[in-house]
């Protein structure tokens, strides 16, 4: 078995259809993707609530996205437990206790896969009905374990905290206790995983400020990319909120939370400017 495993070789059965981030950004059906103004919702807010006419499809799509994200989180944690030798954290090594934490995360993610697959079935979705975006595993392919902690545990699992909080609320509003409580259980685990990322990133880069800065910079790139053009944020135009309290529990400082909120806002402004420019171009033609 190779030391590092490329995203293109991720093994799936025939039900899955994969895509990557570049393809997804081009897709007009995705928030923040494509150029056309969305006509899919008559709602005054982008937030996922049960009273939307498209609530069922959006919730099913989101749940399927969560499930494939869990599969990749499982694979990514397993790879980090495998790819690096135990050592002092320098070079190609990671501390033994970090390897153990990654194995623990693999177990948690395995349960999340099972829970999300069952929730998807419960919501009337067939496995593979929606495309799988492989970006989470891409972030888990870095040769630097600290970048994996920043990109996967802090940025993408941080996003999972925001999304699960939203899904939990949706379950509550829709009167679906299965969805509500399953999301709550997974949320508790994700807070632990993000905290692992926060704690290990600080510990491993304790005496290496350059490495830490590079990791935090990478995290911000992933954070902004996954704001989906401001789909995450504190405004009514956002589909889901930044779960500030849970992020605090997961080891984010107040400054770090504000930085992410700023990136979300910036992504939203950029998306709106791009849409306006395209509309103006269409009107001129």
């Amino acid at each position: 078995m190779r030391q590092f495993f490329p995203v293109e070789d991720l093994a799936r059965d025939e039900r899955f259809v994969q895509t990557n981030m570049a393809e997804r950004i081009k897709d007009p059906r995705v928030p923040g993707g494509g150029s056309a103004k969305k006509k899919s919702s008559r709602s005054s807010t982008n937030k996922l609530t049960p009273d939307r006419h498209d609530a069922s499809d959006r919730a099913r799509g989101l749940m399927h996205g969560i499930m494939v994200g869990e599969i990749q989180a499982l694979e990514g944690a397993g790879r980090t437990a495998h790819d690096f030798d135990a050592g002092d954290g320098s070079g190609d090594t990671i501390p033994f206790a970090l390897k153990l934490d990654m194995a623990r995360q693999a177990w948690d993610e395995a349960r999340h896969v099972e829970i999300s697959a069952k929730l998807s079935t419960w919501m009337g979705t067939e496995l593979g009905e929606f495309q799988e975006n492989t970006v989470l595993f891409e972030a888990a392919c870095s040769n630097d374990p600290v970048l994996r902690l920043a990109g996967v545990n802090r940025a993408l699992e941080g996003l999972a905290i925001d999304v699960f909080t939203q899904m939990k609320e949706f379950g509550d509003l829709a009167g679906d206790p299965f969805l509500e409580f399953c999301e709550d259980w997974m949320l508790a685990d994700e807070v632990t995983h993000v905290k692992m990322g926060s704690d290990w990133l600080r510990k491993v880069t304790e005496n290496d400020p350059d490495r830490r800065a590079k990791a935090l910079e990478f995290q911000q790139v992933v954070d902004k990319l996954f704001s989906f053009g401001g789909a995450r944020g504190d405004t009514a135009e956002s589909s889901f909120q930044l779960a500030r309290r849970f992020r605090e529990l997961a080891g984010f400082t107040d400054d770090e939370v504000e930085t992410i909120a700023g990136l979300d806002q910036q992504a939203l402004v950029e998306r709106k400017a791009a849409i306006n420019a395209m509309q103006a171009a269409v009107a001129d033609s």
């Binding site: 078995m1 190779r2 495993f5 070789d9 991720l10 093994a11 799936r12 059965d13 599969i71 499982l74 694979e75 990514g76 944690a77 397993g78 790879r79 980090t80 437990a81 495998h82 790819d83 135990a86 033994f96 390897k99 153990l100 990654m102 194995a103 623990r104 693999a106 177990w107 993610e109 395995a110 349960r111 896969v113 099972e114 697959a117 496995l127 595993f137």
Partner: protein, 199 residues
């Protein structure tokens, strides 16, 4: 340690979703076992720290290399055979031998860990065997599984088991028939600890 690393690495390489999930769960079980030994071994006076994580011998190194070699998505049977039909049965034998031969009083902490670990090993072996039986569905699959098992088993026999010769006690095999028993001296009731190994 080598076992949880291998299981973690293989998760991304197997297409079967049920196998993927089970490997994730078992990866953690074996990581926890490594954690228990990481704590316990330095407490044993006769263990030298520099020996604790060394493979027992060169054949054991070759065994781990051969067991972890399969990577392609169509080789799930080989991956599972190596773990669930070769390595874990050897773990169970070696752990059981050690548990039965160490002191119930002075080595009670080791026995307690061994009992927890053995419970996991039996459960995981059962899961692994069920996964294998779901994948082995033709005479050709049976041959594949058997051939890979034989290849790995030969190497681990050469290594003398997971912790080297004496993993499950002194060999009782004799060369040729012994018509007249030799005079015997009483067997010692305990043996050298055999907890070191690389898995």
């Amino acid at each position: 340690m080598k076992l949880f690393e291998a299981l973690g690495g293989w998760i991304a390489t197997v297409p079967e979703l049920d196998v993927k999930m089970r490997l994730g769960t078992h990866c953690y079980h074996h990581a926890w076992h490594a954690e228990l030994w990481h704590k316990r071994l330095p407490e044993l006076r006769e263990m030298k720290p520099e020996r604790l994580t060394q493979p027992a011998n060169e054949a054991m190194v070759r065994f781990i290399e051969a067991m972890t070699e399969p990577e392609a998505p169509e080789l799930t049977i080989e991956k599972l055979v190596g773990v669930y039909r070769v390595l874990i049965p050897h773990f169970i034998a070696a752990y059981t031998y050690h548990r039965n031969n160490t002191s119930e009083i002075t080595d009670a902490p080791t026995i307690r860990s061994l009992n927890f670990i053995l419970q996991d090993e039996f459960d995981d072996w059962r899961d692994g065997e069920m996964m294998l039986q779901s994948l082995i569905t033709s005479p050709a699959d049976v041959e594949r599984a058997a051939a890979h098992q034989a290849k790995l088993e030969s190497i681990i026999v050469e290594a003398g088991g997971i912790a080297g010769h004496g993993s499950i006690g002194p060999s009782t095999v004799v060369d040729g028939p012994q018509l007249t028993p030799e005079p015997t001296t009483p067997e010692p009731t305990t043996t050298e600890p055999t907890t070191e190994g690389d898995a």
